[in-house]
Structures are given as structure tokens and as C-alpha cells.
């Protein structure tokens, strides 16, 4: 599960993945909405790892 934490690094640091204007979405070029999309995706990935680990509030 911890490997999920590396996914945003690959998705965002390998810039040739997203250095394009098209396809655009709601007027946003691809370069921009792709990066915005990674914000909720990263939160969800971290949450998945969090859920899979034992934890308690007092720790």
C-alpha cells in the first residue's frame, strides 16, 4: 500500500506526461487541469494508505 504514495511523484515530476495544451477542459489547457486533478487524487491515495494502516488517536 505504501507504494501508492509514490504515484503522485511519478505523475507530476515526469513533466512530458502533461506539457500539452490539448485536450482542454472548461477552458483550462491540459497542463493546468491535469495538475489540478492530482490534488484530489493525491488526497485519496494518502487516505487509502491511511485506512490500510492500524492507527489510534492516542498514538
Amino acid at each position: 500500500m505504501w507504494m501508492l504514495l509514490l504515484v503522485p511523484f511519478v505523475g507530476l515530476l515526469w513533466v512530458p506526461f502533461y506539457n500539452f495544451l490539448e485536450p482542454s477542459l472548461f477552458g483550462f489547457p491540459f497542463f493546468y487541469w491535469y495538475q489540478f486533478a492530482w490534488v484530489p487524487i493525491t488526497s485519496i491515495l494518502i487516505w487509502l494508505v491511511y485506512r490500510s494502516q492500524p492507527h489510534d488517536e492516542a498514538e
Binding site: L13, V15, N19, F31, I46, Y50, E59
Partner: protein
């Protein structure tokens, strides 16, 4: 900028500023503890902040007022390259989730207040402790100065001239930080962040509506960059991909080495609080991305600017009624107070624990620590103010840039020890020195540009100096550790590790 005083904007501004001032002084009683009797109380708010307070506090001091001014300014000036702030503030959270709860546990168990405490506890090396403490102090000072610059930009936009307003604002800040400690910025952060969210969410809906939609905003920016030429553009020019990625990664690794972000981590009440925040804090990144787009909106609104830094204030003054501009400016100015307060507290904690206690008075009491820290926080703020009043602004910007590079060099000393005891203090200290030395020299000799080029196999690669210095730092630390381990196989210095 305004050549007359904007009275409506100013009245709204003063109302909110007065509100947070009162809150700042009352904060001493909030979740009350003996603020002057223990550094844990003054400097860490009693180590009791839960998920939401921590969210507002870290959100409030990581995404600073200067960010609200400078990120749109950079995006306005150069386009896509300025957006490195977005990947930077996304990938920082998987890192926070994986590392910061472990750091918190070590600090909590041993009563550590600063990064240098943790390093001293792990390696029992006064030299490495001092290196980490001094790096934190030196990197923080220009950062506080930048918050003043951010505040100065909006004060100027309301037509106020001279240095008196900024001096007055900073004296107020210094006094309530002195009396309330970390509780003051934690409480004010609620107001500041809610105000910033309101301002930005309204701006990103209303501004494109007035300017013809996001398609029109991007196309206006594109036209401006085509006319401007060079390396500007809506997407990155070929040579900018690696600088963009290395700047994002280097900044992300450096972000939670700063005293102000670590103070937020240490002040939280549990490791789980930090884990939950790693999931929730990206909401601020969304906000930052939207703020960055204000730079493009500046092109669509056809603003005529004397400096890119004026893009946000000008945009609000041009497109919104005066009272809303005043509200937005108050949000930005209060947004400067929260990080400036936390930064001065983080710096004061470092000085108290790792300079004063280590070198001047090892037998200092808990109450003594709190009073040394309180006075240090005043000195730090006066220093930052003097910086802005007496030195050229560019000097603060250059030093802040170098500060990012410097603080990144404390990464191996602070983080590696959480996972392995293989490294030796001597090696880490040498790596730190080489990283700082090479990095500073490279930035300086390139005319204060944070990028360096390396020719490899006929190709030239341009990258962020800080990340290059970190790699060099780690290599030197590893090689030196191998040598030290051969000479001294027994680690005689180690003390019991938590």
C-alpha cells in the same frame, strides 16, 4: 497604484485588522495553560492542537501572504513555469504522511521542541545540532521579511505611503506573539484562512465571468506571452521541463524542514493528527492553484503594472467594489501575520533550545526557556523589520532563495536518523557543509539564479541547485560515514535512541 487613499477599503481593512489584534491578545487564555511557565506552552501551544486547529495553523503558515502576491506575479510574468508551486505543494503531502508522524513521535516521547533537538538526541553531536539550528535561524529571517513585503504591497495599494503602517502592524504582531505565543497565530489562522477562502472562491468565479470565461483568460495570457517571447508561455518551453520538476521536488523536500512548518507538526496532539492533515491539507493546494490563475486574469483584464507583484491588488481594485478590495487586502495582510508569528516562534524556539540552553545556560528552567524565547521572538521580528527598512528588497528575495537551498541541506541530518542509524554525525556535518558551500557558490556565481547546468554525454541538463546540492550532500555524508566507520567501528557517541 492608488495615488489617493481608498477610504472604504481602508476602513474594512482596519476593522478586520483590529479584530485579529484583539483575538491575538485573548489567545493567551484560549485552551489555557501557563503560557510563561513552560516553552511547550508558549512555543508549542501546549502540544494539544487537534486535526482542525493544525489544519488551519499549518495551512495558514505554509501558504503565506507572500505566496498570494508572488505566485500570481511569477505566473503573470513567465506563465507555466510559475506553476511549479502546484506539483510542489501536492507531492509534499505523501512525504508529510510518511515521515512527519515518525518525527512527531520522537519529539513527543523526548520532549523535543525543535529539529535541532531531534538531531542532537539522535546523534549526540553538538556540532550537528548547531549546524541545523543556525541553518533554521538564518533561513527563517528573510522569510519573515518577505511577509512584510507582501503586507507592504497591499498597504501601498490602499494609497497609504511611508513606512509607518507596516511598522505599526509589526509592533502589534510582536506584542501579542510575545504575550500569547503559538496560541495567537493558531487562533488568528481561523479568521485569516476563512477570509482567504472567501476572497479566492469569489474571485475565481466573478473575475472570469467579467472577463469572458476561462477560455478567454487563458487566450489573453497566451497572446501576452507570444508578444513577450523568450521562455514564457502557457506550457513549458523544452529547456524548462527539468528545472520545473527539480524545483518542485526540491521545494517539497525543503518545505517541512523549516522551523515554522515543524512547529506546526510538533504542536499537534498526536501522530494521527498529522496523518489526517496530510489528507486534508491539499485543499489549500487547490486554493493556491486558483490564486496562481489570478496572474493570467491580470492579462485578461489588461492591467498596466509597474511591477508584477502588483497584479493581485490591481486586479481586485479594478474589478471589485472598494469594500471587497479592502476585505481582500485585509485577508492578505492578516495572511502575513500568521506565518510571521509562527516563523518568529520557530526561530525563538531554536535559539532558546539549541544555542542558549546548549551554550549559555544548560541549567535553564522551563520558565527561563519560555522567557528567553519570548524575548528572542521580539529580536527576530525587529531584525526582519530592519531588513526591510534598511536593505534593498532584492536582498531579502535573494536571501530567501538561498534560505530554501540551505534548509534543504538539513534534510539528511533530520530525516535519515528516523529510519536508520547507519549515518555518523561527522559524515552528516561534512555533507551539510559541502551542500551549503557548493549550492551557495553556484547560485551566487550564476547571478543569484537557482538553476545550474551540467553537461553529460554531449547534452546539457539544467536543474534546481538546491536538489543538486542535496544529492552532493548525501553522497559526501555516505562516503564520509564509510570512512568514519572504518576508523571508529564502535559508535561511542550514541545515546539511547527513542
Amino acid at each position: 497604484m492608488a495615488d489617493h487613499i481608498e477610504w472604504v477599503a481602508l476602513a474594512v481593512f482596519i476593522f478586520f485588522f483590529a479584530l485579529v489584534t484583539v483575538m491575538g491578545f485573548f489567545a493567551a487564555r484560549w485552551k489555557s495553560g501557563p503560557v510563561s511557565e513552560h516553552l511547550d506552552e508558549w512555543g508549542l501551544g501546549g502540544r494539544q492542537f487537534g486535526t482542525w486547529i493544525t489544519w488551519f495553523l499549518i495551512g495558514g503558515d505554509f501558504y503565506t501572504a507572500y505566496t498570494v502576491i508572488a505566485v500570481p506575479a511569477l505566473v503573470y510574468a513567465v506563465g507555466a513555469y510559475g506553476f511549479f508551486a502546484l506539483p510542489y505543494t501536492i507531492i509534499v503531502y505523501p512525504f508529510v504522511f510518511a515521515v512527519m508522524p515518525i518525527l512527531w513521535k520522537v519529539a513527543h516521547k523526548n520532549g523535543y521542541v525543535t529539529a535541532a533537538d531531534v538531531v542532537h538526541g539522535t546523534y549526540n553531536s553538538r556540532g550537528l545540532e548547531l549546524a541545523v539550528a543556525l541553518t533554521g535561524l538564518v533561513a527563517t529571517m528573510p522569510y519573515i521579511a518577505l511577509q512584510l513585503i507582501g503586507m507592504g504591497v497591499v498597504i501601498k495599494a490602499m494609497g497609504l505611503t511611508g513606512e509607518f503602517p507596516i511598522i505599526a502592524a509589526f509592533i502589534i504582531l510582536a506584542l501579542y506573539t510575545y504575550s500569547s505565543g503559538l496560541r495567537a497565530p493558531a487562533l488568528i489562522a481561523f479568521v485569516k484562512d476563512i477570509m482567504i477562502y472567501i476572497v479566492v472562491l469569489i474571485a475565481v468565479v466573478v473575475v472570469p465571468y467579467k472577463l469572458g470565461g476561462y477560455g478567454a483568460v487563458f487566450s489573453a495570457a497566451n497572446d501576452a506571452f507570444v508578444a513577450k517571447g523568450g521562455t514564457t508561455g502557457l506550457i513549458l518551453k523544452p529547456g524548462l521541463l527539468l528545472p520545473f520538476a527539480t524545483l518542485a521536488l526540491g521545494s517539497a523536500l525543503a518545505a517541512f524542514m523549516y522551523p515554522h512548518t515543524l512547529t506546526g507538526v510538533f504542536a499537534s496532539k498526536s501522530a494521527d493528527t498529522i496523518r489526517k492533515n496530510a489528507i486534508l491539507l491539499p485543499a489549500y493546494t487547490l486554493l493556491l492553484g486558483l490564486i496562481a490563475l489570478l496572474g493570467y486574469m491580470g492579462h485578461a483584464a489588461k492591467l498596466k503594472l509597474s511591477s508584477p507583484n502588483d497584479v493581485v491588488p490591481q486586479l481586485f481594485q479594478t474589478l471589485f467594489p472598494s469594500w471587497f478590495a479592502g476585505f481582500a487586502f485585509a485577508a492578505i495582510a492578516i495572511g502575513a501575520l500568521v506565518p510571521a508569528a509562527v516563523m518568529s516562534i520557530g526561530a525563538a524556539n531554536l535559539f532558546t533550545r539549541n544555542v542558549w540552553k546548549s551554550y549559555v545556560n544548560p541549567d535553564i528552567t522551563h520558565a527561563g526557556e519560555a522567557s528567553v524565547a519570548k524575548i528572542t521572538s521580539l529580536v527576530v521580528k525587529v531584525g526582519a523589520l530592519a531588513f526591510i527598512l534598511f536593505l534593498p528588497t532584492q536582498f531579502a528575495l535573494d536571501l530567501q532563495l538561498l534560505g530554501g537551498l540551505w534548509i534543504l541541506q538539513t534534510f539528511p541530518a533530520l530525516v535519515f536518523g528516523l529510519f536508520t542509524r547507519w549515518f555518523r554525525a561527522e559524515g552528516l556535518l561534512l555533507g551539510w557543509a559541502v551542500g551549503i558551500g557548493w549550492g551557495s557558490w553556484t547560485v551566487w556565481s550564476n547571478g543569484m539564479k537557482p538553476l545550474a547546468s551540467l553537461a553529460l554525454g554531449g547534452e546539457s541538463y539544467t536543474f534546481f541547485v538546491g536538489l543538486g546540492a542535496l544529492i552532493l550532500n548525501i553522497v559526501v555524508a555516505a562516503v564520509a560515514t564509510v570512512i568514519v566507520r572504518m576508523v571508529l567501528p564502535e559508535e561511542k557517541s550514541a545515546i539511547a535512541r527513542s
